[in-house]
Amino acid sequence: MSQEALTLDELRNAVRGTAAAFRSVAELQPAGGRGDKVFPPTYEGSKYAMEKRRLPGIEEPVDCVVLDSVQSQANRMELALLDAWEAKRISLPVLTVDFGGNNLEKVLRITSLEMPHRIADAILRDSLLDGKPFRKSSAGKRLDNVDVKNATALFELCPSALLFGMWDSTGPKGGLGAKFARAVVSEIVGYHAQTGRRTSSRIDPLQVQKAAGPLYVAETKDGIHWTLDHQNAVKDSKGNPKKIGKDGAPSEANLGNITPTIADGGVTISHAIQTTVISLPALRRLRFPLDNRQQDPRVDLAARTALAALALCAAELAREAGYDLRSRCQLVPTRDVKWELLLRPDEEPRRFRFSGEDSLNLFDQALKNALPTGLPWQAEELRLQPSSELVELVRKSQELAAQSVEEV
């Protein structure tokens, strides 16, 4: 049965019942057209994450490659939520650590949607809210006792942690801190992957020749760190003029040609598939007691429904943002993407289709339905200041990074 829109009632019934998951499967092609090369993420050793998969109707397994991992897809969904929040398209609790006003080389503002460990991240731990260390503040202290049976504070302050997972490993309970398993898993895999070759080279417009060197290290003066004058060069411990790099070649100062090389790189694929699953049992295990009162199934359902809607939102907004995964890896969907509601194994899934805007509306309705139950929601941005120690570390890091660039 095909259906166009997912209503709040249908969503609520799905969350309340025994349905297993919402799932979408999107077919993608390279933006450069079928057969164009794409570049998967490389792992240690310059390896791609290759695998074999069986496809229906094909006898032999096919070579596949991961184009975007589970963790990376989660990050993209969080960034899509952040973009929507900044554009005021969605109400979300967001904690921000603002490094402004500290005379840093580069001003930074980092939100909880960008932090690797979300609201449990060390940056928040090392920042101040209302003059107190975050975990000692009124908001932070509410996180100390969260767990699956008491997730209210996370719903209030960081609902994305309930979707993408969190481990409060550096809170007061250390390694025994609360763990929340993820409820959303998404991944993009390319099929019939064939590794290609890539070339690297540089043609210097100045045509600086190697023999024009050697270049020597100079004292830092007006930004130029090399000199041809060995008498004015920086000396090493033996009093000899110090060459740039190993032998003072102009290429060590990013001048001159670089000989073209050919290496393995990129893949061609027949198509890519993005599979996104939102687990409803994972949401159903969460409880949301209010103010030490007994658990109220009505409140639980409202919170879980809002979270399910937020998950759909995150997935659709990320899709809306496009699939520009990394340099030379942009994908486009080949057709409209539908969502399936997976019921019991012997039942036909129900199908829905909606846009990013539809999902935002659905989440808005779900939230408006949830808040009157008494569920808290930090709609206002919480602004934190980094501790002085953290500021100094960032300052030092920026200075060192700038120096190492100059020393090239």
Binding site: E51, R53, D126, S169, V185, P281, P345
Partner: protein, 495 residues
């Protein structure tokens, strides 16, 4: 009949094998499923009906497991940001480059996430002779519907109580699936962690003490009706159900150490055999001390070398045992289970001490390793074309070393002697066929007991008139690792 079905919603399973954290666990072990149900019970209201249902379940025997074979994602190392420090400087006080969405650097730790991609992402666990009372059935179904993941939290699943007709209707799935039956002894190709009475209470106690669960029982599994599937493929008089030991510690050994290692392992088996003197099929000697002349042969020990790959160097990854086909595996278990397993069925280490040469520590392999040399399929075929990994020590004295025809005939007889069909062609060669293997001259010579002379060795490529199944151990040194053959053309090894 009672069954649980598991559907992996993303099409893959991310769960680490308990014996080797670099490889995925597939199929899921029954104890993992039990722990997932128990977690669902504990995380909810600890309903009495669910507790009673779990108590009933833990009293059932190990289930049948029905799952399709899998491929594995190449295990790669991802670097995940740490959370013990927010500092953008590393231990050497150097700036860490920002990566991803985070605008300041963060130290990262390596992690890998082994993953199995089954041909079809569904598994059934079937208790053929168990029928839970209706109240337990309802509670089990309720708990199953609460299970969100199996293994890593990213391994999202749907779990449910499945009916017999539902399973039988999945004809496409059943055609491709392996049906693993629990068998009487743990020395099996597959060994899975299972649960037993008291498991629920153990999990509760460990959780309350903030401790991880301890290992449960291990149980042997075999592929149901495997011989019926391939009844017509001839094989040697060795049982294709090999017992594989991987080297887990000690120095690296090459193929030249084969005779010493085989002898050391044999001596260990003999001394630990619960039946003394050890039976003829194990010792290779009759009760009066004379050499065995059993038709079915006796236990063979052979090396598992890394050969046949572009950079293979022939070093040994382990050793394997091949028992005679006519000896039931339970006899082997009866003799040697105390050497191989501890009281909960966990593999024990077997230390072989070789004096100045060092030590070789072995552990029974769980059948999950991706290393080709440790996978029985590498040595079993079936195939028509085989080549020697270790030289054949000829069964009899050769009149002329230049006589290819004579060598051919001797090798053909040796093949027939172990129950194989007569080869169609034999091509002897002094040099190895597989990269990394030793030449005939490099392999330690076997001395004849009669006159102290050396037994002639040769490599060979053997073509049979039809496919034959291994293990192929040919010639007079076959019980000590000589004459070990491998299919010359390796098909894609079923994972």
């Amino acid at each position: 009949m009672f069954a649980l079905g598991v559907h992996y919603l993303n099409g893959w399973a991310m769960a680490t094998h308990p014996a080797d954290r670099e490889i995925p666990e597939w199929p899921p072990h029954p104890d993992r499923v039990f722990m997932a149900l128990a977690a669902a019970y504990f995380e909810a209201d600890e309903d009495d009906a669910e507790r009673d249902a779990l108590t009933w379940l833990e009293g059932q025997p190990p289930p049948q497991v029905i799952a399709t074979p899998e491929h594995r994602r190449q295990t790669v190392t991802a670097f995940v940001p740490v959370n013990d420090s927010s500092s953008p400087l590393n231990k050497r006080k150097e700036p860490i480059m920002p990566a991803g969405a985070l605008l300041i650097g963060r130290a990262r730790q390596p992690r890998s996430f082994p993953m199995a991609i089954p041909h079809q992402p569904v598994v059934f666990m079937v208790w053929k002779n168990s029928s839970p009372p209706l109240r337990h059935l309802s509670a089990l179904d309720q708990m199953a519907s609460k299970v969100a993941s199996l293994g890593h939290s990213a391994s999202l699943v749907q779990m449910w109580v499945a009916g017999e007709s539902e399973i039988m209707e999945r004809k496409g799935f059943l055609k491709k699936a392996l049906i693993l039956e629990p068998v009487g002894d743990p020395i099996s190709r597959f060994r899975l962690r299972v649960f037993g009475p008291g498991r629920l209470q153990h999990l509760r106690e460990r959780f309350n003490a903030n401790l991880r669960p301890t290992s449960p029982l291990w149980h042997g599994y075999a592929i149901a009706h495997e011989e019926e599937v391939q009844p017509s493929i001839p094989g040697s008089h060795f049982n294709p159900d090999l017992i594989v030991f991987r080297q887990s510690a000690g120095r690296r050994f090459g193929l030249t150490s084969t005779p010493l290692l085989a002898e050391a392992l044999r001596a260990t088996l003999m001394s630990h055999c619960s039946q003394q003197p050890p039976p003829e099929w194990l010792s290779g000697h009759r009760p009066d001390g004379r050499r065995s002349e059993r038709d079915g042969g006796h236990l063979a020990i052979f090396p598992l070398p890394h050969i046949g790959r572009p950079h293979a160097d022939g070093h040994l990854l382990g050793l394997a045992l091949a028992i005679p086909r006519d000896i039931p595996r339970k006899d082997l278990f009866a003799c040697l289970s105390g050497l191989f397993f501890d009281e909960i069925g966990w593999p024990k280490q077997i230390r072989l001490t070789l004096g100045r040469l060092g030590e070789c520590v072995l552990e029974m392999d769980e059948g999950q390793t991706p290393r080709a040399a440790l996978r029985p399929a590498t040595w079993l075929g079936p195939a028509r074309l085989w080549a020697t990994a270790t030289p054949i020590a000829l069964d009899r004295h050769i009149k002329s070393r230049q006589s290819v025809r004579e060598l051919e005939e001797i090798i053909k007889v040796s093949c027939r002697r172990i129950g194989l069909p007569e080869p169609q062609a034999v091509v002897p060669a002094p040099v190895p066929i597989f990269t990394g293997a030793l030449s005939s001259r490099e392999m330690p010579r076997i001395r004849r007991k009669t006159d102290g002379g050396h037994v002639y060795h040769t490599h060979a490529v053997i073509t049979f008139p039809c496919e034959v199944q291994g293990p192929l151990l040919i010639g007079s040194g076959r019980y000590r690792g000589y004459g070990l053959c491998r299919p010359l053309l390796q098909p894609e090894v079923q994972e």
